[in-house]
């Protein structure tokens, strides 16, 4: 039996690899990042973590120590397939791997909402601002706003403050009362984290404004000022609350989108999450998908944060060890003590957060006809409306193909969901579950050199 393929070396992929190693198995982790750690543990090579480095080093140390685990960092999976019980992945170094067991641990990326000027240089996602800071200490700007929705805005703002950036405000579009308590409901670590972020932000006198959003960014070739406003519970701008502020960058985040590209190529069944309608891999209690031997863990099964990713990774790793005959089910039970209840507990909490920090429909009122929806192909709101109302596009796919929205290099990763919502609203019926699934259909997951492709046939 060939070694297990793990696509994604973030918390879930790492913890699964460790469990497989402990069971005496072998695996190969593939990750496009130059180093293990995924989005959460993004770090410079000489690692310096602001906090929570211990867990990373423990996992990394065990992975490095075990001869059965190979890490192929800096390598992308550009295509994946599953046929007759065997998974194949093609890597951008021109090689390919096959195995009867594969773990999808591809994580998530920031969900974005468009507004006039969101394409200006200086506008980044919240996760992106965090990522470049963690990886190399790069700063997106000197005087910035952090805006959007979700508990993730706080650590981002706190890291920026610690790095010496002037954070002019944290704008949370939802009105969240007593959310520290909310976080406290799960465990002490979250509680402590949140308290720490608040302390950093209040020491720096960073205003945290609930029910506010960035509705426009302006500038000549880069961000010079933003328009912010108070929004109601539906995210519609409250008249008379508009303010204009100077700044040189913004970080916006609206939660995360699970990255289903590889999962979709493997043909696994997916669910549409009842709360935020994100598409997630459907897994059983052992993190196994509808395809035998294909497992999924971490954000690809639903956004839940690092602790859930670690827990699901362990469950998946142990289940893979059982499926490969490395350990007995009895042994698996011993190794899994507490994991299932932990997973349930965090999942419940994650769902509670999703409901609180939901994206409300009124955001579409921030758009003007010239607002870019598809950054890659520079398709405007007006053009999308036009293919619906003038050309008769009556579904997401047709509107996309006629307007080129989502046809660019990111293959709809950034705009796919948001455009589906816009089109749904224009047509008058929300995108169907299958239309939302279709957004993740990217048979070519990452661009691949034509030369590499041509050489493969030799």
């Amino acid at each position: 039996m060939s070694r297990t393929i793990i696509v994604g070396g973030g918390p879930s992929g790492m913890s699964a690899a460790v469990e497989i190693a402990r069971a005496g198995g072998d695996a190969i982790i593939i990750d496009s990042n130059p180093r293990l750690g995924g989005q959460y543990w993004r770090h410079a090579p000489v690692a310096k973590f602001s906090h929570d480095g211990e867990r990373f080093f423990a996992l990394q140390e065990e992975i490095n120590r075990h001869p059965g685990i190979e890490v192929r960092a800096g390598t992308q999976v550009w295509r994946a397939s599953y046929q007759e019980g065997v998974a194949t992945v093609w890597l951008n170094d021109g090689t390919s791997l096959t195995s009867e067991t594969l773990l999808v641990a591809t994580g998530a990326y920031d969900r974005s909402l468009p507004f006039p000027g969101w394409d200006l240089p200086g506008s980044m996602t919240a996760g992106g601002a965090q990522a470049i800071l963690k990886a190399s200490g790069a700063l997106l700007g000197r005087a910035v706003f952090v805006a959007g929705t979700g508990p993730f805005l706080l650590p981002v703002a706190a890291s920026l403050v610690e790095a010496g950036v002037k954070v002019l405000g944290v704008l949370e579009a939802n009105r969240v009362n007593g959310w520290v308590n909310h976080l406290g409901a799960i465990d002490l670590r979250k509680m402590k984290d949140a308290a720490r972020y608040f302390k950093i932000l209040s020491a720096a006198k960073v205003p945290i404004r609930m029910g506010y959003a960035i509705i426009e960014a302006r500038g000549d070739g880069r961000i010079e000022e933003v328009v912010i406003a108070k929004v109601d519970r539906n995210f519609t701008v409250k008249p008379g609350t508009v303010e204009v502020h100077k700044c040189d960058a913004i970080a916006t985040g609206w939660g995360f989108t699970p990255d289903l590209t590889i999962a979709h190529s493997l043909g696994v069944s997916t669910d549409v999450h009842p709360i935020d309608r994100s598409v997630v891999v459907h897994v059983d209690a052992f993190q196994e998908s509808s395809q035998h031997g294909i497992f999924a863990a971490g954000e690809s099964t639903g956004v839940g944060g690092v602790d859930l990713a670690l827990t699901e990774g362990r469950v998946a790793g142990i289940a893979i060890a059982v499926q490969r005959g490395l350990i007995s089910t009895v042994e698996a039970k011993n190794r899994s003590v507490g994991l299932a209840s932990e997973r349930t507990k965090i999942r419940k909490f994650a769902d509670a957060l999703l409901s609180v920090y939901k994206i409300r429909e009124g955001w579409r009122s921030w758009l003007n006809p010239e607002t870019i929806l598809c950054r890659c192909e520079e398709v405007t709101f007006k053009q999308v409306r036009n293919v619906v109302h003038d050309l008769g596009a009556s579904d997401v796919r047709t509107a996309k193909l006629l307007s080129r929205c989502g046809m660019g290099m990111c293959q709809g990763r950034v705009c796919g969901r948001m455009v589906a919502d816009v089109i749904g609203a224009e047509i008058g019926t929300p995108a169907t579950d299958d239309e939302l699934r279709g957004i993740h259909n990217r048979p070519i997951a990452n661009p691949i050199s034509l030369q590499t492709l041509a050489d493969q046939g030799q």
């Binding site: 047709t398 293959q411 030369q451 492709l453 041509a454």
Partner: protein, 382 residues
């Protein structure tokens, strides 16, 4: 009950061309499609309006007329569909291949297609990035290109402006006929439409509609992949293909065939087509097909080795047993007209097909002898 002069089934490029030309002729048209507009093969086609790959005389005549009709339509309704007369280049790097191309060119020339043999120097002017080992080729100034989905959408928009209707997501359930067996209506999942004429423009699925009407028609799918590169500044100016492509179209072998047809698009991406396989509706990606296309394209344009593959799309070309389209009235069901089976040329030849069909329905003279396209050639009627 709704009434229409003609019901067109299928909102692909063929159905929408028929509908446009009939609506312009003053007929009241209702287009019915079980899916969205241009959601079939038209949404997977490359948009080549080619005269250069046609060999058989009736096909040449249809292609030449269609090519001109494309530009006339653009003049009438506005060119909102990226129509361009970019020209094609056919090449071969073997003496035998070139001899074949020359022979074909002189045959085509005799039937109204402009062909120019070009030498290496001229070739480099036309395509600066072409592999220097290619020393001669045939230039076809008449080849054009369009964006097929936009074309269909704009044709149908005009149909709506001419008081026609487009019913999307409407399934055809059956046909009503009179005592003589002539069509009197179309039963749909929305409501019945009273009409004397039905155009079956359902491409790969045309056999199903024929069967539903009590007749038969053999149209089969032939899978093809197209590679789309990441966007690049304009590198390739014509549609460039090698002689194998022409050989492929007429070939009868089911296994994978491919040869590079390379062209740039308005949006900056470069399209590399087209493989041909007859394996039914199997939508899985065939790696061998992708590898071959990439290799062949790079051999014609070495600069492509510096570009990346961004997307792959695949479609199923509708083909008939003799590889000619089926255009005309059904031999068994009066009032049922087929316009299907255009294989890899349905975009290019859609307007001419629409003109033929409109003339047939109106009982007017056709611009060419359409006998070779009539459905009766497969329907056991002499």
């Amino acid at each position: 009950m709704k009434t229409a002069d003609v019901v067109v089934i299928g909102a692909g490029v063929v159905g929408s061309s028929c509908a446009l030309i009939m609506a312009e002729a003053g007929l009241k048209v209702i287009v019915v499609d079980r899916g969205p507009i241009a959601g079939g093969t038209t949404g997977a086609g490359e948009g080549n309006i080619m005269v250069s790959d046609k060999e058989i005389v009736p096909e040449i005549e249809l292609a030449v007329r269609s090519r001109n009709a494309w530009f006339e339509i653009a003049d009438r309704i506005g060119n909102n569909f990226e129509l361009q007369a970019k020209g094609g280049i056919a090449l071969s790097r073997t003496d035998a291949g070139m001899a074949g191309l020359r022979k074909l060119a002189s045959h085509q020339n005799a039937h109204g297609i402009e062909t120019i043999e070009v030498d290496g120097a001229r070739l480099r002017e036309l395509e600066p990035h072409m592999n220097p080992d290619i020393e001669t080729a045939i230039h076809y100034p008449g080849d054009g290109q369009c964006q097929p989905m936009l074309s269909a959408a704009y044709f149908l928009r005009t149909v709506r402006h001419l008081k026609g209707e487009v019913w999307q997501r409407t399934e055809v359930l059956g046909f009503s006929k009179d005592k003589d067996g002539s069509i009197t209506g179309v039963r749909t999942s929305k409501e019945e439409i009273s009409t004397r004429y039905v155009v079956n423009a359902t491409g790969t699925w045309a056999g199903d509609i024929a069967r539903l009407a009590g007749s038969e028609l053999s149209i089969m799918p032939r899978r093809g992949f197209i590679l789309v590169t990441t966007p690049a500044p304009k590198l390739i100016h014509h549609k460039v293909y090698d002689a194998d492509y022409v050989a492929n179209v007429a070939s009868d072998s089911p296994e994978l065939q491919s040869s590079a047809v390379v062209e740039g698009t308005e949006s900056g991406t470069i399209l590399i087509g087209a493989s041909r396989e007859r394996i039914g509706f199997d939508s899985r990606i065939n790696m061998a097909a992708l590898e071959r296309l990439a290799k062949q394209a790079i051999s014609v344009f070495p600069v492509l080795s510096k570009l990346e593959l961004l997307r792959v799309y695949r479609g199923f070309r509708p083909y008939s047993p003799d590889h000619l389209p089926v255009i005309g009235e059904d031999a068994k069901v009066k009032g049922l007209f087929h316009c299907a089976g255009h294989e890899g040329a349905g975009i290019g030849t859609a307007p001419g097909s629409g003109e033929l069909l409109t003339a047939m329905i109106l009982g007017k003279p056709t611009f060419m002898d359409a006998t070779p396209f009539l459905p009766k050639r497969f329907q056991g009627v002499a």
